[in-house]
Structures are given as C-alpha cells and as structure tokens.
C-alpha cells in the first residue's frame, strides 16, 4: 500500500548505499531490501570511510547508515549525515541506531531535518518502516522512530507543570505523530481519524504549546522534537544570578 503502488508517482528505483558494521545486521538489511523492487543497493560498506568513498562512486539517492561504526564506534552515522548535508544537500540519509536516546535524533536534525530519518535498528526488519523512511527522505521528508518520540513524550509529560498536561490524550498522540515526521494524512491514517480532525488537533496543540504551526512537515518535526526534548528551565549561569 505504498505511495508508488497508489500510483502517485512513477516507480522510482532508489539507488542506495548501506553502511553497517555488524555482519548479521548487514545481512538482514540486505535481505529486507532484496525484497523491494523500488531499491537498488549499489554497495554495502562497514565503516565511515568506505561509506564516503561508496557515496563518491555511486552518487546514491539515499544512504542507509548505522550510527555506530568503525573507526571510533561512536556516532559515525550522524557525522556522515552532517558531511553529506554539506556536500550533497539533495541526498537522503536514514540513520539506523541501537540508541533510543533522543539526544542522537536531535543531533541528527541539528543542521536541518529535511531528508533525514532516525530509525531504531530492531524496526528495520519491518519493510514498511525502512522503505517508508527511504521514501520520505528521498522526497524531502523526515522520520523519527516512534519509540524515540515516546521517550520524549513520556519524560515531558512526567515533568512538573508540563505543558503537555494541558493536551488531551488524542492531542498527545497527534503531537507524537507530528514529531515522528508523519504528514497529516499519515497521522490521520494511523489514528483512524479524518484529515480534518487531525488538522483541528494540530491547530489546538500548537496554540496550547505556543508553537508556530508550519505546513512544512520536516520543519514541524524539528519544532515539535525540540519542544519535547526541552528539559527543565534553561540554566541561569553563575554570572547572571
């Protein structure tokens, strides 16, 4: 039931480069993507430098990269995304991660959320997840794994005097959808709502949270993510108090 099948666009074959250092996971991804006619994997790499070389060689539409790879095994995937933002602004990047920490997702979106997706690795097997993310980033959108958004919503709801306390449960679900990078239509579909109901919810949420609504979905993602990620009051430094 993808967009392509729905006939909204000609079936595009996305040229893809995958970077993942764990052999078993790499093989899993290979099998997942082998099922998809829409994608053509140009190369599988296992570290940052071979990924960047493969990008030079193949000029892919989308890069699917592990977050943590050699050489330093920290956040190579996010660094690759930042590098590619500079050199190839049109290229989509899906970062697959074992970290549910929102910190990494926010860091990925620091210099813009367009054409960026943050997925948890264990959800990669679900074909709709990975393929959905590839399609989103290829078409300029953003995706945040629902599990990551969930962490944010939960911690933000827990906080004292949380602005989320003013939201209805439905509005919270819609906000999560927004933060995940879903379009209004996608939110409507996942929550079994009409598109109009979603729009009404979103207007209400953004008014309650004092956020500027943005019809651009990816900018909306960043705004809602940053809002959710806010922890406590900004610290007043020793010099100012």
């Amino acid at each position: 039931m993808s967009k392509a099948e729905a006939g909204e666009a000609q079936p595009t074959r996305y040229r893809i480069v995958v970077a993942e250092d764990a052999y078993l996971v790499r093989e899993g991804i290979r099998q997942v993507l082998a099922q998809e006619d829409e994608v053509e994997v140009a190369e599988f790499c296992s570290d940052l430098s071979s990924l960047l070389q493969a990008v030079d060689r193949h000029e892919p539409d989308v890069v699917v990269t592990d977050i943590r790879m050699p050489p330093s095994n920290t956040d190579e995937g996010i660094r690759a995304a930042a590098t590619l933002r500079e050199s190839r602004p049109e290229m989509g990047v899906v970062v697959i991660s074992q970290y549910v920490s929102p910190h990494y997702a926010i860091k990925l979106f620091e210099d813009g959320s367009a054409r960026r997706a943050y997925l948890l690795k264990e959800h990669v097997g679900h074909r709709n997840h990975l393929m959905g993310a590839i399609r989103e980033v290829a078409s300029g959108g953003s995706v945040v794994d629902p599990a990551v958004v969930e962490v944010l919503v939960e911690s933000r709801t827990r906080a004292k005097n949380s602005p989320l306390a003013h939201l209805t449960p439905r509005e919270r679900e819609v906000l999560a959808g927004v933060a995940e990078g879903k379009s209004n239509a996608a939110i409507a579909k996942s929550l079994f709502l009409t598109k109009r109901a979603v729009e009404k919810n979103i207007n209400s949420i953004f008014a309650k949270l004092d956020l500027a609504d943005d019809t651009d979905v990816s900018r909306r993602v960043v705004a809602s993510l940053l809002f959710l990620a806010e922890t406590g009051t900004p610290f007043q430094g020793a010099t100012s108090s």
Binding site: Q35, H103, E122, V124, G125, S155, S162, T231, G237
Partner: protein
Amino acid sequence: MTSRTPVPEDPVTVLDDPTALDDHVASDDVPWTMSARELRADREVGSQLRPLRLAARRPTRSESAVAVAAVAAAAGAAALALAGGIAASPDGFAFMLALYVLVCVVAGLAWRRARPWSPYGLALVAYGLAASLYALGTTTQPLLHSLGVLLEIPGAFFVFWLVLSFPSARLDSAGRAVIALAGAVLLVGCVPAIFLLDTLSPTQPLARCGARCPANPLQLVDNESLARTFGHVDAVGHVIVYGLILTLLAVRFARASRPRRRLLGPVYLFAALLFVAMGVYQAGVNLFGASAGADSPGGFALTAATILFPFGFIAAIVFAYAYVGAALASMVREIGVSSSVTGVERVVRQVLDDPKAQLAFWVPRSRRYVDRHGRGVVLDEEETSTWRSVARDDGEPTLAIVHDAALDEDPELMDAVGAETMLALENRRLQQDLLDSIGALRASRKRLVAVAAAERRKIERDLHDSAQQMLIAIRIQLELARGEVGPSSKLERQLNRIAADLDRALDELRSVAHGIYPPLLAEEGLAAALTEAARRASVPVELELEDVGRLPEEIETAVYFCCLEALQNAAKHGGPDVAVTMRLWWEPHLLRFSVSDDGVGFVPGQTQEPTGLTNMLDRLGAIGGRISIRSAPGRGTDVDGAVTVSP
C-alpha cells in the same frame, strides 16, 4: 533563579580536598626522609646522647665529702685569720676567705656536676680548698706566715691557668707565652724581693699586716732601696702580665664564635675584673704610693673582684641552663610551625646560635650520615666544628647535629636540642608516612575506580556490539519470516509473540547496557548524559545544567554515577510525588553538583542509610571530591558535591 548552595560545610561526611594535602607534602625542601645516597661521613667523632642532668639530683658521697671538707677548711681559715690578729681587718679577712673558699668549692662542684669530663670542676675544688691556706699569711709564726704569703705565687699562676686555658683546659701558645712572661717577672722581680724585704705581707687589702707583720725569715740582705727597686720591677711586671692577659682575653672573645662567646663571657668578665683590679691596686700601691687600705677605692675593688672571680664559673653554668630553657621554649614554638627539614634545621641554628649548624641523618642501610641533600657529611679541616649524634632508646642512631666545637662545652643545650630535633623529625616522619600511606591509599582507590569504569565501558561495548547486534539481526530475520507466513495463521501468532518477547529483551538489554555505562557520557560529556538520565528517570526531574565542557574521564564518571545514584535514591525512597532538581555548575576550580528532592527525607545516621550513599562517598572520595548529604523527615534530601578540577 537558582539558589546557590554553599560548598558543603557541615556535611554528614566530608572528604578532604586532597590538594590541601598535596600542598603540604609538596614543599620546595628536600623531604628529610631522602637519605638514601651512598655517601660516608669522613670521621666519626662526637658523643652519644646523654640523659639531661638538670639541677635536682641528690649529692653523691664524694660531693658530700668535698662539701664537708670545704666547710671545715673555710671555718679553719676563718679561725686562723681571727686568731692571728695581724691582718688589717682580721674579721673582714676571715669572712672574705671563708666565703672565697666556699664559693670556689661550690663553683667546682657545680662545674663537675654539669661537666664531669671537664678538669675545671676538680681544679676549682682543689683551688678552693688550697685557698684556705692563705689564712697562714695572717698568722704570727714567721715561717708559717711566710709560707702563707708565698702561696700567693702558685695561687696566681693557677688563676692564670684557669682563665687562659678556659674552656679546653689546654694552653695555646699565646697563653704559654704569657705564663712564661709571668714566670720571668717572678724571677726578676718577686723572688729577689722575697730575699731582700724586712717583712712579707699578703696582697689582699684585708689581709695586709703592715707593721704587725713578723720579720721575714727568708731575708738574706737587708737593703731597703734594693728591695723597693725589685718591688717596683715586680709591680711593673705584674701590670704588664695583667695587661697582656686582658688583651688576650679581648682578642679571644672577639674572635670566638657566638656559642663560644656565650660560654666565655661570664668567666672572662669576672677574670677581667679581677686582673684590672689587681693591676690598678698593685701599681697604685707599689709605684704611686696609693693607700693600701681595704677602704681605699683600689682596695675595695680588689676585694670585691677577688670574691666575684669564682662566680664567673657558676654564672657560666647557670647561663647555660637558662639558655637551654629559653632555647627549648623557642624551639618547641618554632618547630611547631615549620613544616620541613630545612625549617627544623633553621630552628636548630637559631637555637644553638650557631649559623653553621647542620643536621645529618643516619642511613641505616649504608651506615653513614648524610645531609638534607643526601650528601655525605664532611667536617671542616680546622676542627672548628664537631658533631653529636642522637640515638634512639634502642641505640640506633637517628641523626647527628654538626655544630661549632664550642658547643661541646654546652652539653645541656646540645642534649636538649638533639632530643627535641629527633622528636620533631620523628613526628614529621610519622606524619610523612601517614601522608604517604593516605596518598597511596587514594591512588589505589583511584586506580580501582578507574579500572571499574574501564571495565564498565568494555562490558557496555560488548553488549552493544555483540549481544544487541545479534538480537537485532534476529529481530530483522523474524520480521522477514513474518512476511513470509500467511496472515492469521497459528505460526504468525507464534512469531508475533516471539517478536514481542524479543522487543522486551532488547529494551531490557538496552536499559542494562545504559545502566552499566552510558555511551553518551563518553561521547558528549556530563550535561548530555545527565539530561538523558533525567529523561529515563521515573520521576520528574528539573535540570539546571551549566555547560561544563569536557572533563577528565574519572571526574565525569564519578559525578555522573553520583548524580544517578542520588536520582535513583530519590525515585526509590522519596515517596510517590517526589520531584527532583539536578544542578551542575562551575565555581572557580570547582565543579559543583547537587541533586535535591522534595521527598519524604530521612534522619541521617538513624535510618539505615542506603548503600547508594556509600557508593557516592566512594566514587567522590576516589577523585578527591567532597560530598554532603543533608536530609530531615519531610524536608527532602539534598546531595551536594564538589570536585576540585585543576585548570
């Protein structure tokens, strides 16, 4: 606004700032324990530490015997002088002579008690007892009278020797020359006069007999003018001898080191008084016809100076004791505030009044003394310095004081200073040992904590890189398999259940790995890791985190786990509605953090304190930080920490 909590002042537990200790240890002085170099002292002279023999001690039998003899001699002399009746003032002379005898003997006894090795004690006792024979000079029996008068000759020479050989009991060449000159004066002036004079009279104004003197049995030729001429020669010779002695004393005193002056001073002063009075009196009487009476100024001065002379020796000892007392007092005071070997050495120099004094430390392994720089100790060629070792009770030497040789004459001072120095240095060594072991303990704790942290990181990496990746790979495969089976089949339901289990396993693993060591801490530092910890906490957490930048790993780890521990304690024990505020900020050279909750609190010390508290203390202690935990029922709990961070 943030309310600033002060640096913990009245904490439940305070772990001292280690830099304070380091400052203490790291002085620019070479620590006195540095004594391992293989150097050998050239000579081994000096003496062992003697027990301090200050005043109170029962008299020995010989001392009692001498005292009895002295009293008898003094009484006998007085009786003789009174009985003779020819002295200018029989009762005056009797009193003076008895006093003189007693003072000389007492000076000798005191000297002997203080310095048993010195010949002056015996010499003064012998001189005092012998001086009682001067009483013979006031008797009427001509031969005994003459003997009494002539005894003044050896008596004078003995006084010359006492003064000129002081304090070594050895005459130097100048001293010998003066005595030889005095001998010559005796031969050319005094001896001829003895055989020419009608009468012989004692020199002492109180003892003079004048016309009452018995005839001189030694007179060979009765030639008054010749006798007067020789008398003049004798008087001039004496004045020259006294002048030379006074000059010699002045020169010696001027050249003496300060410790030696302290010793020479009293003896030289009273001797100088005696010789001046003697010279003035003899010149006045024999050359210028001045009055020889005891009530004349010259006579009075001579009488007084004679009686005072032996007091010089008593004064030397009394001064030595007094100086020891003052020195010890100032030493105890000064050593209390000096923290280094150099400081102790400075105090020793000051107290001994010997600017060249030096400490030497015994190195048992090589059986030699070294100075505070670890060099062998070499005494100078001129023998102006010597050294005295200080041994412990078990006979093992500990240190030696190299000092001016004159201080050998000041044994009370040397013994007291030696004992005090040993005490100070032993204390300092114990303190040093304690600091060393505290330092070693802290270093080993730091190592343990560092090893534990490294181990945690390794386990976290292993979990992420192997177990988690494998589970993820299986999860992907499971999803692929799910796509292959028909919907609503029994197999699909089973696969769904497995998938749900696997997701839980992954969550669990992620949470365990994060608890073991949050990768964010290593990658992004304290603020990011604490933010993440706050997000994961089950209670609301307000964060006020200053961007403290990156810090040494051990500090980040310790502070992170401390905050986490406090956060978990608050969540676990703070009650259902607890909220936590976590702060992190900089003060100059100090990283500060606090975790405060508004929970139910506890009574410090009363309730079983959670093991978390111990962990926090251990972690912070290992990096030399301080932490205070304040709580009261209903008042919440405040955990406050501070870590010194060197720039």
